[in-house]
């Protein structure tokens, strides 16, 4: 084994009562691709931030090339040759690629031309195609990620950390990214690839470390062969066996239909989406003539790489966005262009994609969040009847197993899973619920919460509610949905039954080719 580049010994990081990292030890060698695996909340991002100098560790030591490494901030990390591509890009949208690369690098008068030349060199060397003078706001997500990577490479780093780089990419883009990682490693740079998807490790990793609950639970120097061991280490839980959907979501088992699902149900339509289109303010077609019918008790899954019109679709269906063309009706009530209030009144439940931005007001209480749209039921002369209000909330919390100190607890004090359960409780208890739109309902949740969320959605289905399930996790859709519709660039590329047999075909459709 080559000499270690970066070594972590017993690193512990606490946030209040939470121990995010518990005595983690890890080493990365030059020229290797070291995969850091773990579920959401396992401490991966915290570890990255410790390495990159954003959080100082509470205990433990780090050393870089055998020299103690104690970064006071990202500036120290950068100076010492550690570069990081964050999950959230930090690019200035109205500047060009070159200007973004020069930010913080150049001094004095900008030499944009020389930078453009350097970009082209790096592009050629690592296979990262980039137009140096394109504006960031005009680039796709994959291209923006390339800008971030080039930004790191321009510093000639000794260690490149990539935090969940594949979450936003198309399958061919993932392959290209892995290729870039290999080329970077081949030049003697250490690469740390953080992920919770397993396919990537197989093809890329030279070593892997698994985090669970902030602890190192497995290390492998031959990850491609030991993938089963790593996965079990990653998701093992104290409580009960895993649900089927959760297993499928992690790629642990092949998703097979949980119960016999009839390919063709008697189609008693609850929701009709007819030729829906949306042009954004720049005139870009985000949604193009989308037609879907959802039957009673049916779960229709929307598959596709993120950013292909799914967000616009769910925004339109929830009344937050006015379509520029087409119709949307639920149980023969036309809801096209109607506001959220009317949509809710028509019996449409919405689990928004971005829980914190749209689904709740984190600074308000659980009860207030549950009934914000139904305050009239608890008011007299415009004043709130607190006691009745809290009783009703406590009742819902019990039915949906929302764990909090009480109805008056701040929503922000709840875990992600409990927040999502509270949102579901609100949306699934609409008195006339007929249609549920759930966008990425399990994102960021732990395995137990994922099962609970799907349990509630299936339960609603049995009551005859039609469900539109939007998810970027194909395996999840295959396990839960009845039928899958694939989106690409705002259009429906095709649809098929939700069966693992169609996995390859769906993958092809996700990249835009009709199958």
């Amino acid at each position: 084994m080559p000499d270690s580049l970066l070594t972590l010994t017993g690193v512990t990081k606490r946030f209040g009562a939470l121990t995010a990292l518990n005595a983690v030890s890890l080493d990365i060698a030059p020229g290797e691709i070291h995969c850091l695996l773990g579920e959401n909340g396992a401490g991966k991002s915290t570890l990255c931030n410790v390495i990159f100098g954003i959080h100082p560790p509470d205990e433990g030591v780090m050393s870089l090339n055998g020299v103690p490494y104690r970064p006071a901030g990202p500036a120290d990390a950068l100076r010492l040759g550690i570069a990081m591509v964050h999950q959230h890009f930090s690019l200035v949208p109205d500047l060009t690629v070159v200007d973004n690369l020069l930010l913080g690098q150049a001094r004095g008068i900008l030499d944009r031309r020389a930078c453009a030349v350097r970009v082209e060199e790096l592009s050629a060397e690592y296979g990262l195609a980039l137009a140096p003078f394109a504006r960031i706001q005009d680039l796709s997500v994959g291209e923006r990620q390339r800008v971030e990577i080039v930004k790191c490479l321009m510093r000639n780093p000794r260690l490149l950390v990539l935090d969940e780089p594949t979450a936003v990419l198309l399958p061919p883009e993932i392959a290209a990214l892995i290729d870039v990682c290999r080329r970077v490693a081949a030049r003697g740079c250490g690469v740390m690839l953080v992920t919770h998807k397993l396919a990537e490790i197989k093809s890329a990793a030279t070593r892997a470390t698994v985090l669970r609950g902030g602890k190192t639970v497995a290390v492998s120097s031959n990850p491609a062969e030991e993938i089963g061991v790593l996965v079990r280490a990653m998701i093992q839980r104290e409580l009960g066996p895993l649900g089927h959907a959760a297993e499928a979501a992690l790629g642990l088992s092949d998703p097979t239909p949980a119960e016999a699902r009839a390919a063709e149900r008697p189609h008693d339509i609850v929701a009709q989406i007819d030729g829906l289109s949306f042009l954004d303010s720049q005139g870009v077609k985000r949604l193009d003539n989308v037609t879907i019918e959802i039957g009673r008790g049916e779960i229709v899954g929307i598959a596709g790489v993120e950013g292909n019109g799914q967000s616009e679709l769910s925004a339109i269906l929830s009344g937050m966005l006015r379509p520029t063309g087409g119709l949307f009706s639920v149980q023969n009530t036309d809801l096209t262009g109607r506001g959220p209030h009317d949509v809710t009144a028509a019996g449409v439940g919405i689990v928004p994609e971005d829980r914190h931005a749209v689904g709740c007001v984190t600074a308000m209480s659980v009860a207030e969040n549950m009934f914000l749209g139904r305050l009239r039921a608890f008011s007299r002369f415009g004043l709130l009847r607190r006691a009745a209000f809290h009783r009703a909330a406590a009742d819902l919390m019990q039915r949906f197993d929302v764990r909090a100190s009480g109805p008056g607890a701040a929503f922000s004090s709840l875990s992600g899973g409990n927040q999502q359960k509270a949102v579901l409780a609100r949306e699934l208890t609409l008195s006339n619920l007929a249609f549920l739109v759930a966008a990425q309902p399990t994102r960021g949740l732990d395995v137990g919460a994922v099962e609970a969320v799907y349990g509630h959605i299936r339960e609603a289905c049995r009551r005859g509610v039609g469900v539109l399930l939007i998810s970027s996790e194909l395996d999840e859709l295959l396990a839960v949905a009845d039928r899958i519709v694939v989106f690409y660039r705002g259009r429906i590329v095709g649809s098929c039954p939700a069966s693992p047999a169609y996995r390859e075909r769906i993958g092809v459709m996700m990249s835009g080719q009709p199958a």
């Binding site: 990202p74 930090s90 930004k151």
Partner: protein
């Protein structure tokens, strides 16, 4: 018909009246581009006007007055920067507070220092016309014979435009207002950039203020800026956060002010109040979206 003479006088006084706005406006532009809505331009200008007057009166040297004005604004600018960056205070509230404080302090200071001598003229700068330009018939003297600070202001405006466009500093300032996270991740200090931008606003505003007191009218009066600082902010908004358009807005506002003196002389009867109101009305129409699409820096007023 408007005679060439009166047109020349009008242009000359427009430029003269636009100068304090221009300096405050350029300063404010930089700080807003960096993400700080600096409402204390008014107070900063007043500080400059007062300290410039005191310095010039005490030493008899207007240039020392200017230096004194620039020096005196530093604590005000640093207070604003500290409040809006380090303490993450509401930028509007802290700015208004500083304006109240400065108005009180300069009024008190003026009474204490000048007292009965308040009608005395304070030594100020003379006027100067650039060679050749000053020799143009009719226009030469009326337009180009100005206090040299006017030319300094123009030079700084052009310099600022070049720095914003072509240098690393300009890039960092723009990014700090648009996407501060990118600045932070690139290893630069968002707070440092914003401290610098606010200090620059302070210096520019003080320069505009000293122009008012010892450049233009050679005396100090209580609250003599009379909302020029707010007008400078309006100019930045009207200029859609672009430097060229901001300069244009300042000149327009200067011209509107000049009309107050010009029109009655020409026998045109337009209510004075309407002309004084005009710049605010124009700026209001601009922010109301009636003058093209507005594109404020994304992180304006958001502390880092």
């Amino acid at each position: 018909m408007i005679s060439a003479e009166s047109a020349a006088v009008f242009i000359g006084s427009s430029i003269r009246l636009a100068t304090p706005l221009l300096m405050g406006g350029i300063g404010e532009l930089v700080s807003e581009r960096a993400g700080v809505l600096n409402m204390s331009v008014e107070g900063m200008m007043l500080t400059g006007a007062f300290a410039g007057a005191v310095g010039s009166w005490a030493t008899g040297q207007p240039i020392l007055g200017l230096a004194f004005g620039l020096l005196a604004v530093l604590p005000v600018a640093l207070l604003q920067a500290w409040l809006s960056n380090t303490l993450r205070a509401n930028q509007i509230v802290s700015g208004i507070g500083i304006n109240i404080l400065v108005l009180g302090a300069t009024t008190l200071g003026y009474r204490e220092i000048f007292g009965e001598r308040s009608s005395d003229e304070i030594p100020g700068f003379g006027k100067w016309a650039p060679p050749f330009l000053g020799d143009i018939p009719v226009f030469g003297q009326a337009v180009f014979l100005q206090v040299w600070i006017v030319y300094l202001g123009l030079a700084i405006a052009i310099g600022t435009a070049l720095v914003l466009r072509f240098t690393a500093i300009g890039l960092a300032v723009h990014a700090a207002g648009m996407e501060p996270r990118a600045v932070d991740k690139s290893g630069l200090s968002v707070r440092g950039i914003r401290y610098g931008a606010v200090t620059f606003t302070g210096l520019m505003s003080a320069l505009g203020g000293t122009f008012l007191s010892i450049g233009d009218i050679h005396t100090f009066t209580e609250g003599m800026t009379r909302g020029a600082g707010y007008l400078a902010i309006a100019a930045v908004i009207f200029g859609n956060w672009r430097i060229g358009r901001t300069i244009g807005a300042c000149l327009l506002f200067g011209a509107a002010t000049a009309l107050q003196f010009q029109l009655p002389a020409m026998g045109v009867d337009i209510p004075n109040a309407l002309l004084i109101m005009l710049p605010y009305l124009l700026a209001f129409l601009a922010v109301a979206g009636l003058v093209g699409r507005q594109s404020a820096p994304a992180s304006l007023t958001v502390p880092w």
